[in-house]
């Protein structure tokens, strides 16, 4: 294998790229940079419309801050378990890598579960997707975030399964790190949403 193009992303590939950095990791960071503009757009839409509640209840009457604080805390802790998975993978400790990946996925699922519960509760209080501009933009923003978390859970579990069956092509530690970057980004987006949407009064 004499050439850079084909080596990309492979363990030994780090040393043949121009910058010495992994192609996959550069791609992931570019993608996350791009995601900033996606979530920025959704957050701005919500900020613009959060006061337009029509006849329905507004954010201040609706949000259950203690519940959301707990689920925010859960997601934050999943970042810790993720970073432990990344460190285990760097140590080539497969058993702990899998353990922390699954733990992260569980915490993520818990967060999604809380979100589903929250959406159901809102719906029962009479706030549907189409009730008002506030509700549409709220459900769109948090829904997009929830979908991102769900995809993250899917990737975490898939990665754990692939490690078990030894089906990870290329650098295992890097694969964990890439999923980790994605996961932390989703967490960081929630940090912003939690403050701007839930905590700052409209």
């Amino acid at each position: 294998m004499a050439d850079t193009a084909v080596h990309a992303g492979h363990e030994s590939g780090h040393h043949v790229t121009t910058t010495g950095l992994s192609n996959n990791k550069l791609a992931m960071w570019l993608f996350l940079g791009s995601e900033c503009l996606l979530f920025g757009g959704l957050i701005s839409t919500y900020m613009l419309y959060r006061g337009r509640t029509g006849d329905g209840p507004g954010p201040n009457q609706l949000f259950d801050i203690p519940l959301t604080s707990i689920s925010s805390f859960v997601l934050l802790m999943s970042s810790l378990t993720m970073v432990l998975a990344v460190n285990s993978a760097k140590r080539k400790d497969d058993a702990n890598t899998k353990l922390w990946l699954v733990a992260t996925a569980l915490l993520g699922s818990l967060f999604v579960g809380a979100q589903v519960y929250e959406f159901t509760a809102f719906y029962q209080e009479g706030i549907g997707f189409t009730t008002s501009l506030f509700s549409s933009s709220f459900f769109t923003l948090t829904g997009f975030h929830g979908v991102h978390v769900s995809i993250g859970v899917l990737m975490l579990l898939a990665l754990a399964a692939m490690i078990t069956r030894n089906r990870v092509a290329g650098d295992k530690a890097e694969a964990v790190e890439l999923v980790g970057l994605y996961w932390h980004f989703v967490d960081v987006v929630w940090v912003v949403i939690f403050t701007l949407v839930y905590l700052i009064p409209a």
Partner: protein
Amino acid sequence: MTTTDTHEHHGHAHGSDEPHIPTDRYFINVALVLALVTALETSTYWWPDGMQTVATVALIIMMTIKFFMIILVFMHLKFDNRLFSLLFYMGLFLAILVYCITLASFRFFF
């Protein structure tokens, strides 16, 4: 490719492009700080109504602290090659720029 940092690390002798990533203990400490800040954030919910402006400012500051702690430490930007930071900050900067201008043109801020 090495980033000079003074953090505790077990030596990565091989490969100059490997960033020095701190130990588990370090990350747990960071997570504890993050949890503490989150608790503080949540507490603003029970602050008296007269302190709304203070609370808003405090919340934005705390959000920024959490944001950068996660991307710098958990996402390794602090330890990694600066190119990764550059690529990500480009997106972040443009997002803040264009959306703040847009919201400003809707008289969102004042």
